[in-house]
Structures are given as structure tokens and as C-alpha cells.
Subunit: 123 residues, 2 copies
Amino acid sequence: MEEFEELVADVFSRRCTSRSVLETITGRWAILALVALYEGPYRFNALRRRVDGVSEKMLSQTLHALERDGMVLRVAESSIPPKVEYSLTELGREAAERLIPLLEWVEDRMPQVVSSREEYAAR
Amino acid sequence: MEEFEELVADVFSRRCTSRSVLETITGRWAILALVALYEGPYRFNALRRRVDGVSEKMLSQTLHALERDGMVLRVAESSIPPKVEYSLTELGREAAERLIPLLEWVEDRMPQVVSSREEYAAR
């Protein structure tokens, strides 16, 4: 009887595709865009205002990568001027649901991190 | 009566320090190092083998940033040759606990993302 090893995704393995998936959703702008879109659909410029500091180019690249990876849906209405709306797919919602606790924790623990940085700088 | 607005951390605000905290823990190598160290303490070279593909320089930079931000403890034993061991602080454990569900989700959903990429490429 031959044995087959079941292939599973492993982000610790450098050649595993899952690592590139991780990178799509953990870039600075991707995290913020996914969490913003969890609030509801956004048009490009409104999303750009919500994700304070992102350039047009970076937001556009981020949304394309998220669309390609099946997290974000881009819907263009055939109106004049054309309206383009971005929203989360079910996959994107799942990703956002795992990013929100991380963001909340970061905001919550910021003071401790700042103290730690001060101690580190004073060493 | 004067009003005071309570200042709270907001990662959506470009000037909020919390954004730099988010970046410390969501870099590719930082995520993998935090989750690896959640398994237990590691010496540098063993950690480097665990975090497959990381260069010595990048792992060193990553660990310094995590140490500065109070997530990782670096303990040097005064032995010959000196042993340096890295472990998580309580803060680092909290971060890892929020990163693990994200990693597991990424590994779990990789096939869907790959399908999505194929569909996107075929459009």
C-alpha cells in the first residue's frame, strides 16, 4: 500500500502560497481597508478619506490585490459619472473579523508599547 | 465648565502612534516570529530555521523591533559561547493570540484564494 502525505498549507514554509495570502491581507493599507469595508461599502474617495494617509496609488493597488484574492468586490454602476463601489465578499468579511480584534488590541495596548519604547531608548 | 475630549488610540488616523505598533506586529517576519515564539522560547538560529526563508539580518531587525515594543524578551546567558534566548512577554503572548487565528484562517482559506486568483487572471 502506497502512502500519501496530505498536503496542507503552512505559512512557515517559504514556498507555501499561503504566505502570499497572508501578505495580501496584512499590509498596512490592506488591514485598514478591510476593516473599513467591514463597516459597509465605500466608494473609492470616501474609502480614501477613511483610511487616512493612503495615497490614491496605494489604495488602488491594495484594492486590486484584495479583489484578485477574492476579498473585495468592485462594482461599477453604469451611471454618468460612473460610480464604483467597493464591498467585502464573504471571504473578506472573514478576514476582517480576524483583523478587528488585532486592531482593537493594538489601540488598547498602545500606551504599554509607548512605555516600552521609552524604556528601550533610555537603556 | 470646560470640556475635555478623551484621547483614544485610532489606527485609522495617520498620526496615531498605534499605527506604528500595528506595523511592528504585522510585518511578515514579525507575525511568523511571534507565532513561533508562542510555541516556546527559541535561540536565534533555531528561530531562523523555524521561520523558513528569513535572512539573519531581517530576523535580527524584527526581533529588535519586537523587543523595543515590549513583545519579546531577549535573555543572554553568560556562558561560553554565550547563549541568547528569545521568548514572548505577556504583551507578546497577547499579540500572538490574536495572530494565530489569522494565520490558521489564511492556511484554511488558501484554496479559495488560489481559485480567486485563477479566475481573476482569466478575466
